[in-house]
Each structure stands twice: as structure tokens, then as C-alpha cells.
């Protein structure tokens, strides 16, 4: 089941959850390699949650590696930078991961583009909390765990709240993925430096780094660096269990407290961040290197050479696949992200974006659809759900389209980890139908709100 080795010390965890096969051994020992530049890059403007970035370059303009090509369009938005020296070759609408068609920009690489950039530390001493947040926003950094939520929004701590703990998520509980694992094992100093930078402004009591026990080398490496650090950093080994890396599950495992429904980790005084993201923070403040590349795991049973690559943002997927030796299966299934929460792709004509944590190339044998049977109420899903919902009852309600009744069973608390669908012996698409239900309910809520506003306006007249 597990990869080469496991951490032997004490581990903590949350209750419920599942144990899918890990498949991490395919790429867990592959050190991070730099992917060479390719001919052309494609950068969508909306790679993150929030408003798409606003383009500030024109077609034909020359840009340098690390140069800003788009500004943030609001508070919940970030800047975008060119990953190479080159020329803006096209501005238009292109296909993105998950089949989205969005505005973007293409950059033709200058054949003499170098990977070396001028390293210019930013003056932290003169910075206050507000400028720090602005700096992070202009660095283009978003959560690298997969959600791509603008990091500076998290770092902008409201006046009435207070950060007690900085918590780093190094669980990487999705099967197959090893990008965070490699980052932690190879760049522990960068991660700790990132924590120290953040803590200048967050002023926390302590930092925690939560790592699943299947990454003993990462735990050791970070422990070694953390020991010497002035600001107290505790590395905590967590049990190998899915979804240990969900923020609520990690907070519960480490602090023993639950994040109240509808609240944020910050309500418990926790500032949570992915390990890759904090490394990017260090890169920005120490070297002025914006988020122009990230570590991605390319793995699966149908890729020739599984690897962990440092890939420039905007690299076309097919170039990445070629670099890894190509696909060994006739009709592969290509996923972005992990197998539990990732999305299947229909084409390779899409770029690696800021939120791409992994590219999985699987065979049909793994991504198979099974015959669906009726629910036999075996309650395996009830025992798996990490937030103690009743997926069995929710599934029956979803089948009948009784969305409103699902509210009573707290469907909106579901964070779609897919543990229920994983265990269901009847192969009922539980989480799949919950996504639909949540979408319907959100839409309904929006419609109700609009109707209310309209009525209020009418009565005013």
C-alpha cells in the first residue's frame, strides 16, 4: 500500500475518512527537475478564484522573464507575469483546463531566453502589513494546493481577527501526487524562510507544519531546519488517511478543535497555507521572483517517466507529456489534480496553470465506470464522511431532486472530498450528485435574493 517507507513516530488524525491505495511510489523518489523552455506559452487571465487579471501588454510587445503582463482587477484577483523572455504573439480566447474557454495571451519564446533572473531582495524592514499584502498580490501568488485562491486575501487579516497559529499544509493526501513531498524534502529552508517572512506581519504564537507519515524524508528535513529557527515551528506527522489534507481535517487533527460550520480557519486563529505557496512567498521577497513556475507531479500508470517537474506557468500540456517520455496507453484518461478530486480532460491542448498540482495519465482499467445498484444502506459512506454527514440519505434525496430537503441534512457543509463515492459498494455517484445539488441550491439562493431586491425596489416606488 504505502510508498517506500513510513514515519515511525507518533501521528495524529481526524475521525472517519478512507484509505485509498496511494500509488505515490511511482514518483515519490523523483527529485524536482527543471522543465526546459518550449516554443510558445499560453497564459489564461483567469487562473485563480476571483476576477481575471487585466492585461497591460499589447500584441507584438517584447516581455522579459518575470515581467508583469497583467494587473489584478480587484482585491480578489492577482497579477500575472511572463515565464520567459519573448514576444506577445497572440491575444485571444483559448481552451483552458476543464474545457473552459477564456481570454488569454500567447508568448513566443525568445530562443536566447535564460532561466537566470536577477535576484533582488525586497525591503521587508520598511514594509507594513498593508504593503505586504499588496506585494503578495502583485507577485501573482495563489494557493498552490489546487484551489488557486489568491494568497494575499488570506494574509489580509481583518482587524477583529487575530492569527494565533500559522499552519502549513504538507499532507498531500491525494493518491499519486508527490509535488509537495518533493518541495518539502528538497527545499525545507525556503519553506521555513517563507514562514518567517509571513510571521513578521501575522505575528503568530507558533507555526505548525502538518505532513502525512508517508513522507518521512520531508518530516526529517523540515524538523532539522525548524529546530534551528527562532520562531517556534512544530512539524507534526499526521496519519496517512484521506482527506487528511482538507483544511478542516488538518486543523482538527492538529488542534483538536472543529472549524464551526460556515466559518473560516481564521475564526480559530489559524492562518492556513500550502507548503508550495509559502516557498513561493520566500522566492518573491528574497529574489523578486513572481509566481512564474511551479512544481507539478506528472505521474500515472500510463506515462513513461513519472516525474516531479518545475514547470513554467503556461507550458502546453502536450509538451510536458512529451518531456516525460509520452503516453504508453492507446486510450488514456488524463486527469488534472488527484484522482479523488481532480477533473478529467478531453484534450492536451491546454496549459499548465497556477492551480495545476498534478497531471495524471491513467489507463481505462483504473478510470472505470461500474454498474450502479440501489442503495442498500450499508452506511459505509456514513462511516467514511469526514464531516459526519449522511451521504446515504442525501443520495436518495438527490435522486429525487429534493434539493431543499438536502439543506436540512447540511449538504452545504459538504466539501466534496468524494470519500462517500469511493466506498459505496453500489457505485452510486454520491458526491457527483451533491455537486449538482449544491449548484442548484446556490443558484436558487441567488434567484431568491434577486427577487427580493426587485420586490423591495418595487415597493419603494
Amino acid at each position: 500500500m504505502s510508498s517506500s517507507s513510513t514515519y515511525s513516530g507518533k501521528t495524529r488524525t481526524f475521525s472517519h475518512g478512507i484509505h485509498p491505495e496511494e500509488y505515490k511510489e511511482l514518483s515519490s523518489d523523483c527529485t524536482i527537475q527543471r522543465m526546459p523552455f518550449v516554443e510558445e506559452y499560453m497564459l489564461p487571465l483567469g487562473q485563480h478564484i476571483g476576477g481575471p487579471s487585466k492585461l497591460i501588454v499589447t500584441k507584438g510587445q517584447k516581455v522579459n522573464r518575470g515581467e508583469k503582463i497583467a494587473d489584478a482587477s480587484g482585491f480578489v484577483s492577482v497579477a500575472l507575469h511572463s515565464p520567459v523572455d519573448g514576444e506577445i504573439s497572440d491575444i485571444g480566447i483559448f481552451t483552458n483546463p476543464n474545457g473552459q474557454v477564456l481570454p488569454g495571451v500567447k508568448i513566443k519564446t525568445d530562443p536566447y531566453s535564460t532561466q537566470v533572473m536577477e535576484e533582488k531582495p525586497r525591503d521587508l524592514d520598511k514594509m507594513d502589513a498593508a504593503t505586504f499584502v499588496n506585494e503578495v498580490q502583485s507577485s501573482g501568488i495563489v494557493g498552490l494546493g489546487g484551489a488557486a485562491f489568491p494568497t494575499h486575501v488570506k494574509f489580509a487579516i481583518p482587524e477583529d481577527k487575530n492569527c494565533k497559529y500559522i499552519m502549513l499544509n504538507g499532507c498531500e493526501c491525494e493518491p499519486f501526487l508527490t509535488a509537495d513531498h518533493r518541495v518539502m524534502a528538497e527545499w525545507p529552508e525556503v519553506i521555513v524562510d517563507g514562514i518567517n517572512i509571513l510571521n513578521r506581519f501575522a505575528k503568530a504564537e507558533k507555526a505548525y507544519i502538518g505532513i502525512e507519515a508517508n513522507k518521512p524524508d520531508a518530516i526529517e528535513a523540515l524538523k532539522k531546519v525548524a529546530e534551528k529557527n527562532d520562531f517556534p515551528i512544530e512539524v507534526i506527522a499526521l496519519k496517512v488517511k484521506y482527506p487528511q489534507g482538507a483544511e478542516k481535517m488538518m486543523i482538527t487533527a492538529i488542534l483538536g478543535e472543529e472549524v464551526p460550520s460556515g466559518k473560516l480557519p481564521l475564526d480559530l486563529g489559524v492562518l492556513l497555507c500550502n507548503v508550495g505557496t509559502i516557498a513561493a512567498i520566500s522566492d518573491w521577497f528574497r529574489k523578486s521572483k513572481p509566481l512564474i513556475e511551479r512544481v507539478v507531479t506528472i505521474t500515472g500508470t500510463a506515462i513513461k517517466n513519472p516525474s516531479n517537474l518545475l514547470i513554467p506557468i503556461g507550458t502546453p500540456m502536450k509538451d510536458v507529456i512529451d518531456y516525460c517520455g509520452g503516453i504508453t496507453d492507446d486510450s488514456p484518461r488524463i486527469l488534472l489534480g488527484g484522482p479523488m478530486m481532480g477533473a478529467i480532460q478531453k484534450s492536451l491542448d491546454i496549459p499548465v496553470i497556477k492551480g495545476t498540482s498534478g497531471i495524471l495519465i491513467l489507463t481505462q482499467n483504473e478510470v472505470r465506470s461500474l454498474d450502479e445498484y440501489n442503495c442498500i444502506r450499508c452506511a459505509k459512506c456514513v462511516d467514511a464522511c469526514p464531516i459526519f454527514l449522511n451521504p446515504s440519505a442525501l443520495g436518495l434525496l438527490a435522486k429525487k431532486g429534493l434539493w431543499e430537503d438536502m439543506m436540512e441534512y447540511n449538504i452545504m457543509d459538504c466539501f466534496e472530498c468524494a470519500s462517500c463515492s469511493f466506498v459505496c459498494p453500489s457505485s452510486i455517484p454520491l458526491v457527483q450528485s451533491f455537486r449538482v445539488a449544491k449548484g442548484m441550491l446556490r443558484e436558487q439562493a441567488m434567484r431568491d435574493k434577486a427577487k427580493e431586491a426587485k420586490e423591495a425596489e418595487e415597493t419603494k416606488d
Partner: protein
């Protein structure tokens, strides 16, 4: 799936291997030793009643199946399981045509009518037996002696359809429960474990049922809460009466090993479809069944109460599910 078929699906792309048909088949496999013991004691009758019940259940399943894939509900293995379980609850000398009627009732009234697998409120096998109990009260309380040879029929097995028939064997043994109820004679627990006593096909041999129950628990097919709750409740509740007057009331050990107690606890009260989902619900269900068993056995008109105890609690299960909800993460109460 052919490679040309376009398959669009959403996460998760990993799946635990266990499937519903596998679970059903696994339970069927654990019933094979029980059937073996039944054959040892009741010979050809055990075989014929089981075959008839399975045939009748599968046939009804097939006839009621309206979905495009005519064989789908046969493939899930639940009809086969219901057939075997129904057979195990019947007396060895029961007319085969009545067994057939019972199978039709079990699947037709007990399952298909509710919408198929997973939708029924009552355990289908027990519902089929309850139907037979009210339709043929004499035949279902006529018991045969366990030692009648392998290759002979018992009682009125071969009665013509719509007839009661004449028993082929003269010996008719009362069950330990009936002896207790009407004559206040207890049966030794070793006899009950070995199974050399009168009773339904699958209920007499306590040892093999306990063994299979432990095996199912170990494999995680059944949960421990409901069986434990039933066993504890029956022991404590009947133990109190036994302590008051051991002359009149049966001992807890006798209560646990006699009649359909073990068969019902291990194979029917653990049926996931008709029992509560949550652990809290499981405790309520188990305690309810335990109390009802003791009440019916001691004060009811019938010597045996397991069937009705489970069926009554089945009826209460939707209600229990409604009240025994789990507390959701991040919520203070179980709202």
C-alpha cells in the same frame, strides 16, 4: 467497455473494490455451512425447501423487474440471499408448494412492491415467513424430528398444491421453545449448540451460526452493534426474570441459543436495508428487538418471537433514522 466509447465522468476516479453483489454473495457463502448442517439433520427436505425458495424468489424477482436490464436485480444476488434465508426459517416438513408461495410473498410483497433492493421497510425473508405464518398457521408450527435419514422427505413436504397433505413420518418433535412455553421443560444448552433438536431448517445448530456470525463480523460485512445490543438486552432482561423464579422463566442461555434467536440476530437484524444507518440508531434498534423477543416469548401467545420482534423494529427504522441523526462537523447539536 469498448475503447471507442466516449466516457465522461467526474471525480473520484478511484473506487474501493467491494461491490453490492460481492457483499450479497459473501453472505450466501457463509450460509453454505449452515445449509450443510441443515442437510445433515433434515436430509432431502432441507435441499428441496431451499431450492424451491430460491427458485421462487428468483422467479418473482425476474417477473417484477421492470428495468431495461432484465437480469440486473438477479445479478445483485439479493434474491438468492432472500431465498436461502427464507428456507432456513421454515420447518423441515413444510409443503413445498407453500414454500413457493412464501418466496413469491417475500420478494413480491417484501421487496419488489417497495421499489426493489434497498427500498423495502421489512426484511423480505421474514416478511415471507410472516405471510406463511398467517396463511398456514398449522403447517408452519408442525415440526419434524431431526434424525430421519438423508434421502427421505419430512412431514408434508410433498403435499399437493392447495392441500395440507398427510405427513410421511410419524415422529413429530416439538421445538425446545414450545417445550419451554407449554411444558416448562428446558433443553440443555449443549443440545442447542449441536442442533440435534426440533426447529426450522437453519436455526437449530447454534455453534455453526455463532461461527459464521463471528466470521461476518471479522470480515466487516455485518456491524457488531445490533447483534451485541440484542444479545445484551435479551440476557439482561430474561436474566432478571430467571433470577426471580428459575422454575417458570427460561435461563438467559436458553433464550440466546433456542429458536430463531441466533439466525435472526446474525442474518436478519443485521440486514442493512431494514435497520438504522447510524450507530446510535443501531443501539436503539438492537435494544428494541431484544425487549420484544423476551416480551413475546414469555408473555405472548406464540413460543417464538424473533420474527415479529425484528419486523416490528423494521417498521420503526425510518423513525429511528429520523431521530438518531449524527452531529455534523462544526455544528454544536445534531439538528
Amino acid at each position: 467497455m469498448s475503447s471507442s466509447k466516449l466516457s465522461i465522468s467526474t471525480a473520484p476516479f478511484l473506487k474501493e473494490k467491494e461491490t453490492t453483489p460481492n457483499i450479497m454473495l459473501f453472505v450466501v457463502y457463509t450460509l453454505l455451512p449452515v445449509l450443510g448442517v441443515s442437510f445433515y439433520y433434515f436430509g432431502l427436505s432441507a435441499v428441496m425447501i431451499t431450492l424451491t425458495a430460491v427458485f421462487s424468489c428468483m422467479l418473482t424477482e425476474w417477473m417484477f423487474n421492470k428495468s431495461g436490464d432484465k437480469l440486473k436485480s438477479l445479478k445483485d444476488g439479493s434474491g438468492l440471499l432472500t431465498g436461502i434465508l427464507l428456507a432456513l426459517t421454515l420447518p423441515p416438513g413444510f409443503p413445498l408448494w407453500m414454500v413457493f408461495v412464501g418466496g413469491v410473498a417475500a420478494i413480491g410483497l417484501g421487496k419488489a412492491m417497495w421499489g426493489g433492493l434497498g427500498q423495502n421497510v421489512f426484511n423480505p425473508a421474514l416478511l415471507g415467513r410472516a405471510f406463511l405464518q398467517s396463511a398456514f398457521p398449522t403447517a408452519i408450527t408442525t415440526w419434524s424430528d431431526p434424525n430421519g435419514g438423508y434421502f427421505s422427505f419430512r412431514g408434508t413436504n410433498l403435499a399437493l398444491p392447495l392441500f395440507q397433505g398427510e405427513p410421511v413420518d410419524a415422529v413429530s418433535g416439538a421445538t425446545p421453545l414450545a417445550q419451554m412455553k407449554f411444558e416448562k421443560v428446558s433443553t440443555d444448552w449443549i443440545e442447542l449448540l449441536i442442533g440435534n433438536v426440533g426447529g426450522s431448517l437453519g436455526e437449530t445448530c447454534g455453534a455453526i451460526l455463532i461461527l459464521m456470525g463471528l466470521f461476518l463480523l471479522l470480515k466487516g460485512i455485518i456491524k457488531w452493534r445490533i447483534p451485541l445490543a440484542i444479545i445484551l438486552t435479551v440476557s439482561i432482561f430474561s436474566g432478571i426474570f430467571y433470577l426471580i423464579d428459575p422454575e417458570i422463566y427460561p435461563s438467559p442461555i436458553f433464550m440466546l441459543l433456542s429458536g430463531g434467536m441466533l439466525l435472526g440476530t446474525i442474518y436478519m437484524a443485521t440486514d442493512p436495508v431494514t435497520t438504522p444507518l447510524t450507530s446510535k440508531g443501531g443501539w436503539i434498534f438492537g435494544i428494541g428487538v431484544g425487549i420484544l423477543i423476551v416480551l413475546i416469548r414469555i408473555w405472548g401467545g406464540l413460543p417464538e418471537g424473533v420474527m415479529y420482534a425484528i419486523l416490528l423494529m423494521n417498521a420503526g427504522t425510518p423513525l429511528i433514522n429520523r431521530f438518531a441523526k449524527t452531529r455534523v462537523y462544526g455544528h454544536k447539536t445534531t439538528k
